[in-house]
């Protein structure tokens, strides 16, 4: 692994900016910085968001695990829980639908000139994050660790070989996209 680069703080600040620029560019080109596209996904009338996300996962899953096999990257997957991931995920989902952007696409929407993303979304995210910091000590050893999941990764959970799980998941994701195209969605 490129440990010296990982530990170079100034290089990482520059890299963070460059990754952000490339990510924002791709999100905008993919159409997912548009409120209408995201709300269309949540109303199940426009599947652009899932197409972008699943394409990213299809490519990234193979790439990440090949890099990991050859020792160039390490896993950051962490243990989760019902209290943290399910409850937090559902709160996020309600906010996602009211705002019509997520924390990354809201920044992309600001770049395209959307003022509801700037004055509503970005300001709201700062307030919400600050509110979470206030209540974090009360949640930390209670609801956030309630109902811990029995495994960190899907192969561990299914007790299957990693590569078999990767092949199965790739087939399911590609199959889903083929079905979407078949029905013209």
């Amino acid at each position: 692994m490129l440990v010296r680069l990982h530990k170079n703080k100034n290089a990482q600040i520059v890299l963070g900016l460059l990754f952000g620029i490339a990510f924002g560019f791709l999100l905008q080109k993919g159409g997912v910085t548009d409120y209408n596209v995201i709300i269309g996904q949540l109303l199940l009338t426009d599947f652009t968001v899932l197409k972008v996300m699943l394409s990213a996962v299809i490519v990234g899953m193979i790439g990440f695990h090949l890099l990991k096999y050859f020792g160039h990257v390490q896993s950051h997957a962490a243990e989760g829980s019902i209290g943290s991931n399910v409850i937090g995920g559902l709160i996020f989902g309600v906010g996602f639908a009211f705002l019509g952007y997520c924390p990354g696409t809201v920044a992309g929407a600001v770049g395209t000139g959307a003022l509801d993303a700037l004055l509503g979304g970005m300001v709201g995210l700062l307030i919400g994050a600050g509110f979470f910091a206030e209540v974090y000590p009360q949640l930390k050893n209670r609801i956030l660790v309630w109902g811990k999941f029995p495994a960190v990764t899907v192969p561990e959970f299914l007790k299957l070989n990693l590569w078999i799980v990767i092949i199965l998941m790739e087939m399911v994701m590609i199959g889903f996209l083929v079905v979407l195209e078949h029905f013209g969605l």
Binding site: L5, H6, I13, G16, L17, G20, I21, F23, G24, L26, L27, V32, Y35, N36, I39, V52, S55, A56, V59, G60, G63, F64, V73, S75, H76, A77, G80, S84, N85, G88, G89, L90, I91, F92, G95, F96, A97, F98, L99, G100, C102, P103, V106, G108, T112, G113, D116, G120, G124, L126, I127, G128, A129, G130, F131, F132, A133, F149, P155, F157
Partner: protein
């Protein structure tokens, strides 16, 4: 070649595959998943430090997500710039107060739209930190790593989002 970059939109499969490659590069060069929600904690912490530094020192969460300019913070200004470049060179940059899907059902009053967006933003900021990540951190980069928690979280993002959007548009707005 340059004409491709000035196209208004790319195929979502091409843009998505590009995000997949970018995610792998982030793991390789920066040893981290591309996530967007911790930047808002850092920004909030820095604002708090500027106003009342003594009070911020007592907040446990800011010792875990340190308010400083680093990789995780820079991703957000980067996204704003990248999306602006993409929109600007394709001529699709324009100032917008109320998106058309919202306006056609709930009207074009910017105050109502900003108020609802602000409510959504607060829930999004709160929920993303509760769940420990967002659509990018969990949805894309956690799924890439086959993280069970991330895949479950991503399903909950959409379950909550679909239920709320249907309630807004098909029940309240119907």
């Amino acid at each position: 070649m340059f004409e491709y970059f000035t196209q208004e939109l790319w195929s979502p499969y091409v843009a998505g595959a590009g995000v997949g490659v970018l995610s792998c590069l982030a793991f390789l060069l920066s040893d981290r998943p591309i996530g967007c929600s911790s930047a808002f904690v850092k920004a909030r912490g820095m604002i708090g430090k500027a106003i009342d530094p003594a009070r911020m020192k007592t907040k446990e969460y800011y010792r875990e997500i340190v308010p400083q300019v680093d990789w995780a913070f820079m991703i957000i200004p980067g996204i704003v710039i990248g999306a602006f470049i993409s929109a600007f060179i394709s001529g699709s940059f324009h100032i917008l107060w109320v998106p058309s899907t919202w306006g056609s059902i709930f009207g074009y009053d910017p105050i109502l739209r900003i108020a609802v967006a602000l409510t959504g933003g607060i829930l999004l900021g709160f929920g993303s930190r509760w769940a420990g990540g967002c659509t990018s951190g969990h949805g894309i980069n956690g799924s890439i790593q086959l993280s069970l928690a991330s895949i479950i979280t991503a399903c909950c993002f959409f379950a909550g989002g679909i239920a709320t959007a249907v309630l807004l548009y098909r029940v309240i707005g119907a």
